[in-house]
Amino acid sequence: MDSGQRGLGEGHAADASDAIDVNAAIAALRRILPARGLLMGDEELRPYECDGLTAYRQMPLLVALPETEAQVVAVLRLCQEIGLPVVARGAGTGLSGGATPVRQGLVLSLAKFMRILEVDPVARTARVEPGVRNLAISEAAARFGLYYAPDPSSQIACTIGGNIAENSGGVHCLKYGLTVHNVLRLRVALIGGEVIEIGGGALDSPGFDLLALMIGSEGMLGVVLEATVKLTPKPLLAQVVMASFGDVVSAGNAVARIIAAGIIPAGLEMMDRAATAAVEAFVHAGYDLSAAAILLAESDGTPEEVAEEIAALRAVLEAAGAGDVRVSADEAERLKFWAGRKAAFPAVGRITPDYMCMDGTIPRKRVAEMLTRIEEFSEEFGLRCANVFHAGDGNLHPLIMFDANVPGETERATGFGARILELSVEMGGTITGEHGVGIEKVRQMCVQFSMRELSLFQAVKAAFDPDALLNPGKAVPTPRRCSEYRLTGTPGAH
């Protein structure tokens, strides 16, 4: 097994697939798919060997690029018939290995489903295919003064199908919600080829809240064929306050004080010195490089409302010990302040051969403590770490820097990350706020959940996908797998 397969869960489906008649599968898929809709061979498959979590690589058996719903349905039906595992894939920007192929499995790319089917400015909704990029929805809605609120930093590239599978968030979700708060309806293909509609044009539907179950299910319950999302009116004005702090503890406390003052900023983000330094060199956003941490707090609404809130924010930040406090003078400056934050991952990518992005979420009041502990881990593991996070939500993105070509560094980075995730659970939080479990955090699921809770997840999975063919080995470890991890000790060890 090459090192790229580390962390891959096995699941019985993957075992069964060893018995698949590959030639027969290819022939059957060719009959279903359009010309050039089936990729095979090293050169064609290579682009699919990983997602944004590049430390994990696995070549798939085949990649299917269907163009119609009927083709997706036929592919899924075939997969169930012959026991071929399927991994749905959007843009492959996921950071937890959700779209990493499984060995002897098919990658089902939704890349051809790029149509925005309808923008209804009166109902404030957009009906889109799963391969539509997040930002494309807002662009299509812009002429009506509307936009799609969840804005992951990857929004130029990531697809709505991927957003739904991960329940993605963005810098504005403290006020405007996550994907789960902004999707009204899904059309979903189940593994047997059945197509179901969940949710609808109304605000609720009878029965169990299957929308909530489907959103964030990491491609393990069904394949999203179409979504109706809510559109939000663009605020008349948005301004951002940037505040510098001499130490991370005061910055962390400032976050709690803003909330205590009854303010819910449209965005509330924090970056530490290592992150601002990386970003400043990349986008020249004008960040204070002498600060130990900077906070970005956005206010939006009517001009009167924004003026009132900005004044309140400034007062709280100054009382919390902020040094420099600057308010964006115009839209260009606001975008510049955000450009740095949004480019944080690629900026760090420039100063290190590889990095791993963690995604733990903790109570806000423990942010400062967590940052102090991360500094200690950084010394212990001998690896640098830059911290960027959605402070308003307590969602941390420590970026652990390493070089995969240096023997042992990948393992150290994994160990470092595991410590952060376990500490997040200990602090009353979670191992993942928005990036998903994927293959990366499957082991830490055994820390966060009991065997009984994991069994219930398995039962939910079986209600949708009894043969465990959709994205096997991801997100939900089998109880057996967890006992093995517990026996082998430290997470991250092979």
Binding site: G145, E197, P206, D209, N395, G433, Q448
Partner: protein, 354 residues
């Protein structure tokens, strides 16, 4: 009042072993809602109390038997609220019932529904196992979102022991306005306004009177009042409370009350009986003796669904909620079996099928 989880576990385990149906009940304020009541009463009221509340975390955690009024008083003391404005219908209403029934009040259209605010649950499944999903933090995508699935599940999937909810600051200012407009025009106005950045936090149309609530920063509320016109309503808070609690005159008779959940843009429905509209047109209350099939067909035709919200027991036994199409219903059955294999929780309360 206190931690009586162990007793509840014992009751559920015994019931599971004996396959005795249980009827989970808090304050009984929603006994009228859903299918007929069946099974031995499992009273949750003793398992009560606020477990954790830290205003700067915007989260409250409380046991299922805690009265909603106690929770709301604790929040108000810190200038915060449950933004989905759940109806109580009775002082006795408990947190468990609020979440299981999944009902939200006037502010739902602007702030979101119960499930949007559920962050985590501690629950008992049908085997009597104590399970935790979600947590006390704002974002959590570890595992399937079982805690949100429990909202509105009518207790059919499990017994909620404890729930963590996101809370929000009370708005700095609120104002209530009233305009005279017929229904069609009211819907046009509401949908138009919803597409603009206006701080409308609730709406109610009845008998050609459209009442609006504005919430937010004082400057924004004042500016919106000027923009929208109409006359100012003096006792706005009392009006919205009466609407939320269904104590308004509209709700005070024995005609069957239907709850129609529709796209807000749906044209006025041509059905006999009086109507009251909330949520910018997305929620339409209908008092009507018309045949259930006719009402359900009209709702479905408009892209939504109808629930017999208050009606005779016989009528509700025919199905209070619109049953989903066969493949979805089959999925419901499989999920029910995953959570409650012996089928002991609230049989028939949601659908006749389980």
């Amino acid at each position: 009042m206190g931690d009586f989880a162990a007793e509840l576990v014992e009751r559920v385990r015994q019931a599971a072993a004996a396959k005795t149906p249980l009827r989970i009940r808090g304050g009984g304020s929603k006994d009228f809602y859903g299918g007929p009541l069946e099974g031995e009463v499992l009273d949750t009221r003793r398992h009560a109390g606020i477990v954790a509340y830290d205003p700067t975390e915007l989260v409250i955690t409380a046991r299922c038997g805690t009265q909603l009024s106690e929770i709301e008083a604790a929040l108000a003391g810190e200038g915060q609220m449950l933004a989905f404005e759940p109806p109580r219908f009775d002082q006795a209403a408990t947190l468990g019932g609020v979440v299981a029934a999944g009902l939200s009040g006037p502010r739902r259209v602007a702030a979101g529904s119960v499930r949007d605010f559920v962050l985590g649950v501690r629950m008992l499944d049908g085997r009597g196992e104590v399970l935790n999903f979600g947590g006390q933090v704002m974002k959590n995508v570890a595992g399937y979102d079982v805690s949100r699935l429990m909202a509105g599940a009518m207790g059919c999937l499990g017994l909620l022991l404890e729930v963590s909810l996101k809370v929000l600051p009370l708005p700095a200012a609120e104002a209530t306005l009233r305009l005279e407009v017929p229904q069609g025009r009211a819907l046009e106005l509401l949908n138009g306004w919803a597409g603009r950045p206006l701080p409308i936090s609730a709406s109610c149309w009845q008998d050609d009177a459209l009442t609006l609530r504005l919430s937010g920063a004082s400057a924004a509320v004042a500016a919106a009042c000027r923009q929208l016109g109409g006359e100012s309503v003096a006792d706005g808070a009392a009006f919205w409370l009466a609407l939320r609690e269904q104590r308004a005159a509209f709700f005070a008779d024995d005609t069957p009350l239907w709850r129609l959940s529709l796209p807000s843009v749906a044209a006025p429905l041509d059905l006999p009986g009086a109507q009251l509209l909330e949520w910018g047109g997305a929620l339409r209350w209908l008092k009507s003796g018309a045949a259930p099939e006719r009402i359900r067909a009209a709702a479905a035709g408009a892209g939504g669904h109808a629930t017999l919200f208050r009606g005779s027991e016989e009528a509700r036994a025919e199905g209070a909620f619109q049953a989903p199409p066969p493949p979805l219903l089959a999925l419901h059955r499989r999920l029910k079996r995953a959570f409650d294999p012996a089928g002991i929780f609230n049989p028939g309360r949601m659908f006749r099928e389980f």
